[in-house]
Symmetry: C2
Subunit: 329 residues, 2 copies
């Protein structure tokens, strides 16, 4: 078996284990009027990348997968908590092709299900945290706080006319990348890794998280609709201030500048204009800059693993980065 | 100064300290679009009973107040988180005489402010948790989970036709009493107390919490509107399944039974009928049973401190119990 096939096999195996553990996790708890809905969101099959990263980081830092499963479940529950509450705030109807929790049940149930998922995340994290429990919990809590701040910024940016590229990068760092960073750091901490190892894995997570989010913005306009799983140009239609839009805004002159400003002022465009804006993103260099920026952060992520000895545990991070980012540049 | 005056002075002094700490707690954090609203709820002057109990328990178990302030702030933040989210679920307009957070701002801001308050509660708890951080965090997390379950039961009971008195007691235990228990247990744990001391203080909190909630139900109908600060009979008007209603339902026969069933089936009564129902609560013995039950739990609370040596640290718990419960029987 060549390495990609082998790593893919590991990923699929661990995903299955995580899925199984998640599916039984809340079964015995009462009241079912609360835990039924909470299970609904845990059971929606996601990519389970965050829990997988906890496992990989723990392994790379010298522990075994089985020493980090509870922590892996904890970060997936934290992630699910954010999805449930974010979906309410975004008034979203669908999540992974199924009804969002507040649409399937109701607002109160969704708020409370999110809350209890977060609470049980801490319970599970504590199961794996041994000697350095305080450090592990502090890392998780810092991640949680920044995720909330990131979501706060995201909501704030929706109604603000002016958002700088720097502010945008801060927002996606907090909203998306810090949790990826937290996954890697927690895995390393559970393994009792030294500071240098923790920092290396932490920086991998942070930078790959930023690259991943910018790629997500890019794929909104350059992606293959079928493969990407979302409507092309959705961010533009909703008037979202993405990396592409903010870069185009900074670079554009004349008619292009007026067009970009219109997206912001009118908070979106008709679907028929998506291709026109794709051209503007090309002409203003926004697409090229996005590709370059993704490459800068991906390279940074991989470089932060430089000090690690060559091994399968290291290689799998390279494989995973490729899997996450390869489509963009 | 006689003991009650002296204890009152301590309470007022510590409340002031807690108020001051809460008021500056989020000031330096960004974004202000998130932390401004979160501060709004922390600044609404409450009785600060939960943080005060953390301090008292820590002191009674051998620590100093100053070793438990951050944990005290943490439980008040946890409490505030529940208020903000519960107010959304109850569609409440006012909280402590001011607009609720989701009415003053909006739904998204309220959900997210609650979330971040909970997150920062953990951050503060970690500041005081030293050697036994894992135990302290586990206690706090257990309390949080049960509060969510209690709120889940409360919402479930709203639409259920049949709720037993036992189920009601489970609900108020989880929704209200467990957090009081958690405050006492955390104070004791921070002081490094032995198991017996932790259990004694824990049981004090749990039982006084149950007594307090049943008293709250009782005062809804027997209270002095001005002193109680709420409209008399509010629970009846809203059709809430309280200790009184469920006891009357169990005891009533004939016309009285039909009247009680009407509250449940029609989910409330007109304000004009409150006095009529007060009479039914008297006639069916519900008011007397409530008083007896409050006494049973209060006595249990005080008995759980029996093994403690006589001291001011012990006496202040008796004083506080009197303050919380004296109006009921």
């Amino acid at each position: 078996m060549n390495p990609p096939e082998y790593f893919n096999k590991i990923y699929n195996r661990e995903c299955r284990i995580i899925d199984e553990k998640l599916s039984g996790l809340l079964a015995a708890r009462e009241p079912s009027s609360l835990y039924g809905p909470a299970s609904y969101i845990l059971d929606l099959s996601g990519k389970r990348l965050r829990p997988f990263l906890v496992l990989l980081a723990a392994k790379a830092a010298g522990a075994k997968y089985k020493e980090a499963y509870n922590a892996a479940l904890a970060v997936e529950m934290l992630h699910s908590f954010t999805l449930v509450h974010d979906d309410i705030m975004d008034n979203a109807d669908l999540r992974r092709g199924e009804l969002t929790l507040h649409k399937k049940y109701d607002l109160s149930t969704a708020i409370l299900s999110g809350d209890v998922l977060l609470a049980i995340a801490y319970e599970y994290l504590l199961k794996d945290a041994k000697k350095n429990a305080k450090e592990v919990i502090a890392e998780f809590t810092r991640g949680l706080i920044e995720v909330c701040e990131g979501q706060g910024l995201d909501k704030e940016f929706e109604t603000r006319k002016k958002v700088s590229l720097q502010e945008y990068l801060l927002m996606i760092t907090k909203k998306t990348a810090v949790l990826v960073e937290t996954c890697c750091a927690i895995g390393a901490l559970l393994a009792g890794a030294d500071k240098k190892t923790v920092t290396g894995l932490r920086n991998f997570g942070l930078n790959i998280g930023i690259a991943f989010q910018i790629q997500d913005d890019l794929l909104d306009i350059t992606g293959n609709e079928k493969e990407f799983g979302k409507k092309i140009g959705g961010d533009l239609i909703e008037g979202k201030k993405t990396f592409l839009l903010l870069t185009a805004l900074r670079n554009a002159r004349g008619q292009n500048l007026a067009s970009i400003k219109r997206v912001i002022n009118e908070r979106g465009i008709p679907e028929t204009e998506v291709l026109l804006y794709k051209q503007i993103f090309e002409d203003t260099g926004a697409i090229e800059e996005a590709k370059q920026t993704i490459k800068i952060f991906s390279d940074k992520a991989l470089k932060s693993l430089r000090a690690f000895p060559d091994s399968q545990d290291k290689e799998i991070f390279f494989w995973l980065s490729d899997l996450l980012i390869k489509r963009a540049y």
